[in-house]
């Protein structure tokens, strides 16, 4: 998209904008001889910022690393970071700013599904390549939109991993569910809830837990009353810890399943107050191991190298797959980089190395969900390591 000739009219502020707009003149927006501009957005302030930086910093570390090794086809990656505040208004502004003001080549970002929808129209309208960072709502990338790709496990796929696992557990016929009432939990639980009856499992109790709740007594007691065979939780890590803690406290002794957001089981163990409550906890996962495990040691090193002040955490791993996919596609698209070229290159990815992810990424023209399957984890008997129990239940303890 070339620069449009626009009428100059009075208005100091806007003429500055105009000057900025008329700046770029290269073949493709956001690409110069030695840089590629990638826009990134996420919640960098406010109450959800605790997910923003850790998630975005993962890919940033990878981009920084590739820049140190000389970049791609001689071009270094330049990151423009904008705040989306987990809010459609801020996200829309961030996306528009990245596209029209910063003139980035592509966007890699978005951690809150609802918020990403604020910017999705602009992304579709301009056709800019968009790699979703960690937002999970299905309808973002399914059915496939020409320029939108998701490398991470979609919400429904996450739920389905849990469902498949439940279906293979012996003697599990009646389960209890506890979930938040937000977009995140809906994305993960809606397909799960819709499909569960077809596996001969009955949901006997469906409870809600407030985000930032301070205890789970009522939920646990309601669950205990119906005597479920297992519990499926669609809760953020902090709330999942509260639930497991209270479940142990009130003697609800059944397997508890969590989404891939709770895959940092070591952290869960710490938050729930010891191994006891999490002994029988299984979480979905789509990366090889949480941060801290030897399998992800390389990525941990990457994080401590580029972000020495931050605590490496599993959230860092979420967006790394996308970063590797982008780097691979950029390499394949060659020196004559265009947005369409990148999109075509992304659609050729099949089984590409995706960093810490267990999934091998595969995009086709009609399939822009790069990762459709996951695995399940649990803690070892001594609680010191994480065991991959696979998609089907097998007794490991």
């Amino acid at each position: 998209m070339g620069p449009k000739l626009k009428l100059r009219v009075i208005g100091g502020l806007f003429s500055v904008a105009l000057a900025l707009m008329c700046g770029s003149a290269s073949a493709e927006v956001g690409v110069t001889d030695d840089t590629i501009k990638i826009g990134m957005f996420g919640p960098l302030q406010g109450k959800v910022s605790l997910y923003g930086y850790p998630i975005n910093n993962g890919p940033i570390a990878i981009y920084k690393e590739i820049n140190e090794t000389g970049g791609i086809h001689g071009r270094k990656i330049e990151i423009v970071h904008e705040d989306g505040d987990c809010n459609p208004q801020k996200t829309a502004a961030a996306v528009k700013k990245l596209i029209h003001q910063e003139k980035v080549f592509m966007i890699h970002g978005g951690s809150c599904s609802g918020a990403v929808f604020g910017g999705i129209k602009e992304i579709k309208d301009t056709g800019i390549p968009f790699m979703i960072m960690a937002a999970t709502m299905d309808k973002l990338a399914t059915p496939a939109v020409h320029n939108i790709f998701r490398p991470a496990l979609s919400g429904s796929a996450d739920g389905m991993v849990m469902l498949e696992f439940l279906a293979t557990m012996p003697g599990v016929k009646r389960i209890a569910v506890v979930r938040h009432s937000n977009d995140w939990a809906n994305a993960k639980s809606s397909k799960f809830m819709a499909q569960i009856a077809s596996r001969g499992i009955e949901v006997v109790s469906d409870e809600e837990m407030e985000r930032k709740a301070t205890d789970a007594t009522a939920q646990v007691l309601r669950h205990k009353k119906v005597k479920p065979d297992a519990v499926a939780t669609f809760l953020y890590p902090a709330e999942a810890a509260l639930y497991t803690r209270d479940a142990a406290k009130y003697g609800l002794d059944v397997p508890i399943l969590g989404t891939n957001s709770v895959m940092d089981l070591m952290d869960l163990k710490k938050r729930a107050g010891g191994l006891g409550p999490v002994k029988n906890f299984y979480s979905a996962a789509f990366v090889q191991a949480p941060m801290g495990d030897f399998k992800t040691a390389a990525y941990r090193a990457l994080m401590t190298k580029h972000f020495p002040d931050d605590r490496p955490q599993s959230l860092n791993l979420y967006g790394m797959g996308g970063a590797y996919a982008i780097l691979e596609a950029l390499t394949r698209a060659g020196r004559d980089l265009t947005r369409e070229g990148l999109i075509s290159a992304l659609e050729t990815l099949d089984g590409t190395h995706a960093g810490p992810m267990t999934c091998k990424l595969r995009f086709t023209k009609d399939q822009h969900e790069g990762c459709v399957g996951g695995t399940m984890w649990t803690l070892s008997a001594d609680g010191n390591s994480i065991i991959d129990v696979g998609a089907a239940y097998r007794a490991v303890k």
Binding site: E207, E208, A218, A238
Partner: protein, 291 residues
Amino acid sequence: MEFFILLSAGLANGGYYALIALGLVLIFKAQDMVQFGHGEVFMVGAFTAYTVFAVVGWPYLVAFIAAVLAATVVGMIVERWLIRPIAHMPHMTLVMVTVGLSFCLKGAARIEWGKDIYTFPSVFKSGPIVIGEVVLMPQQLVLVAFTLSLSVVLYLMFKYTALGKQMKATSQNMTGAQLSGVNIGRVFSSTWAMSGALGGAAGALSAPVLSLLFPDIGTFILLKGFAAAVLGGFGSIVGAVVGGFAVGVMEKFVGFYISTSLEHISAFVIIMLVLIFWPKGLFGTKDVTRV
């Protein structure tokens, strides 16, 4: 029996609602205003306790004292440098300033603590206390006992000490109290100090019970404190304590017996209902309509 489990869990939660409500009520009694920044005082207490106990590794008692001191200092600084220069202004100005204060403190906390949810390690190594089916953490018992004894102390203070009487006089008529020789600066100062101490104590005591700390924790709990204070009829010490426990217990009962999705919102339904139907609060002594 679920009833007793819910009751005990509710009372344990109600303990810190009551402490928050007490802090609010104190300032309301002396200055006739609502402190919207009180949640952040709670947050300061909780994070101070966390730092001293979990990061530095000193005993919990030290952490508790540090938290109380830190929150007291915050309260006094806010009073001395922010509120006192504008004490003569309309109450709404004061209230709005505390809203601004709340955002400042929260924003400041987020710079240091905004990147994670922090876990407060448990204080008592002994496991939960089990009585029949009722399971209680030792920390919860400490919290409830502390709340109850503190409210008795406060009640007696208001009834019998000179300071208590001066606070009462000041809230009813600032100029009048000043003319009759009350050092209102000292009264405000001690009120805010006490309110801060209460907030800090609430933070330090409930941090191990809540176990998860984040900068927004104050806002969340302040709203529950409002509900408790309104239910108790803003301005009554006994009311605040009873209101706090009532809100805590009711949340659990609503969550279990009606629906878990109503658990959180029930506190706000209470505020609405109480203000519509019993404007004096259920235990109120002070007229809410203040004509």
